[in-house]
Subunit: 346 residues, 2 copies
DNA sequence: TTGTACGCGTTATCAA
DNA sequence: TTGATAACGCGTACAA
């Protein structure tokens, strides 16, 4: 690894000149010198030492991507193609913009905080944080933060304005449209399945569900809730129970394609036909929604683009641009495939 | 961000003392001082500046994870739950060992080389590289390298000994067992499906297929090849063609669960029953193999563990330990589910 | 037991 | 147009 100093020595000039050429500050350097230096740089395949550069400039060119997960989850969170595809979108945009992505997955906020402080990353992408967590990280950190799928409370937003931004989906509308579609098909007994009903995106998806029900004059009751215990040791048993419970319903809306497919399989196992006896709707429209059979009717969102946009926004902020909006919401889109149909006559 | 210098100033002592306490070189410091410093560090929540530390020590605590992908792939490579799960295994082990993972996905080796040189990562994890690429990177780089699922040529191995290591699977055995199982069921017309037949893992999986055929006295012909064009614009059309071609076969062995499921779907679409008319076997046993219906008979490997082990090995090497073996091979295991059965009478 | 001083590779300031 | 030189924050050899 050759250094600027050494290059300067070999060319018999100062480090400043070499550095200037490297950075294209060519107004200050004679044409001849430029060419000599550039040729030499080429020859020795010079690459800057990032640590030294970062130290000098107090930058890092690193984007920290923090994903809060759940302890003992049934599968690593990255196994969800939705998450993975989003990460791909982040990675690509970061790389093309001269940044690098550092992934950090943890269920421990204290650990995450420490990580963020240590690497002085230029900016942070926070995925699926709950309100307070994102806030605490920002409080301590005071560098550009872009959240993805994180609902920022009104108070927080008022206090911090555009300081942190969220890239999200109109989750409420997503399930609202889905449930409305089911109701239009004639369904009345419509369940809602998730592993959580009062936080983050799930809370808002649940809201959309309730709203659609209420507008159709269907009275909601807690027995409509299909709560998935999504830890490794509970999930199979729980799915079996939920499938049995599903016998009393004609449709179920879920918060994830994976949940939907798992439920469908559990139902088929006990003789419930999908969509004959039961319609099931997913959320995300990831690879699995397309590949599974019956293919999933689901709520589409563009994961790759989400990661892309979040990263582009973050990099803009790092470069000092004020983001246009504190919150960017995409429109969900219902994709109708095979897992839904009109309810069977009873 | 408080610095050691500032801490020393405020405590009225030298930076050396502070630094010594931080690094636990307490033999040289009085008990009283230690406590004063430790208490103060706690109070101000000192975190070292990584760039400065790295510059001083010529380290980075970063593990570079490089994945070579294909341009215009039908889906981001991370969407494959096998890859994603492996990445999770890497991330977890790295984090728990005090390292961080930097992901770099690209189809351009020159770009990858540049990246590796710039960040002086402490070690590299190379996934799915072809022989020469891993070699070129190591040549230039001369730091610990662990490959995953990369077949290192005999010459290279002889020249570099344990300098780079591969964590892999006995791929040949995997398909060998699968094909043998099909033959035992009575299949004779067995196709082999991949997007590549002469590089890396696929080459060896293909070998296993050929060996099983040959041992059973079945003569191989090129028409047994099901070549998937896996770019975005070709894949659907190609799958349809392969499904039609599948009519002449009773079984097909594939190189990936995703390929298998896509093929099954394409077959079902044109009225081929799986496993009634056609048995299909996947590879990897990822989430999709379990979720799809008919669930996949497939060759199991533990992706999370693979990532974990590769990372642990790399970190050992970084710490100066010679790895026990240049190549660690796991045993594949055939998992029989619903996508295979005896061939139909014709 | 503690402190001084220098090197790591780069960038930036200011003088020549 | 070019060149010294100081800073960035940390670790450490060596001196006190």
């Amino acid at each position: 690894m050759i250094t600027i100093k050494e290059i300067a020595r070999q060319l018999g000039m100062s480090t400043t000149t070499v550095s200037n050429v490297i950075h294209g500050k060519t107004g200050e350097v004679s044409q001849e010198t430029i060419e000599r230096v550039e040729k030499f740089l080429e020859e020795v395949e010079y690459v800057p030492n990032i640590n030294a550069r970062n130290l000098a400039q107090n930058k890092s060119k690193i984007i920290g991507v923090v994903i809060k997960t759940m302890e003992n989850r049934y599968e690593p969170i990255l196994s969800d193609p939705f998450v993975a595809t989003m990460i791909s979108g982040i990675e690509k945009m970061a790389r093309e913009s001269g940044y690098f992505m550092m992934l950090y997955i943890s269920d421990d906020i204290a650990e995450i905080l420490k990580y963020v402080a240590t690497w002085n990353v230029d900016g942070l992408l926070l995925f699926w944080m709950m309100d307070d967590d994102a806030f605490r990280i920002y409080e301590k950190y005071r560098k550009p933060v872009v959240c993805i799928d994180t609902y920022i409370g009104e108070e927080t937003k008022a206090e911090y304005g555009n300081a942190f931004v969220n890239i999200g989906l109109d989750d409420e509308k997503g399930t609202y449209e889905a449930v409305k579609y089911l109701i239009d098909l004639g369904h009345k007994e419509i369940g809602f399945m998730s592993d959580n009903f009062n936080k983050g995106v799930d809370k808002h998806r649940f809201r959309g569900y309730r709203r659609a029900l209420s507008e159709a004059g269907i009275e909601y009751s807690d027995r409509y809730l299909f709560e998935l215990r999504s830890t490794k040791d509970e999930i199979d048993d729980c799915l079996h129970k939920l499938a049995n419970k599903a016998k009393d319903f004609t449709a179920i809306v879920t918060c994830s394609d994976i949940f939907a497919v798992m439920l469908i399989n559990a139902c088929i196992d006990i003789g419930i036909d999908v969509p004959g006896d039961l319609s099931v709707i997913g959320f995300d429209d990831n690879l699995i929604a397309k590949l599974s059979r019956p293919s999933l009717t689901t709520i589409h969102q563009d994961a790759f683009m989400k990661g892309n946009l979040a990263t582009a926004t973050l990099i803009d902020m790092i470069h000092g641009k004020e983001p246009a909006k504190a919150v960017t919401i995409h429109e969900p889109e219902l994709v109708i495939r095979e897992s839904t149909g009109a309810p069977a006559k009873r």
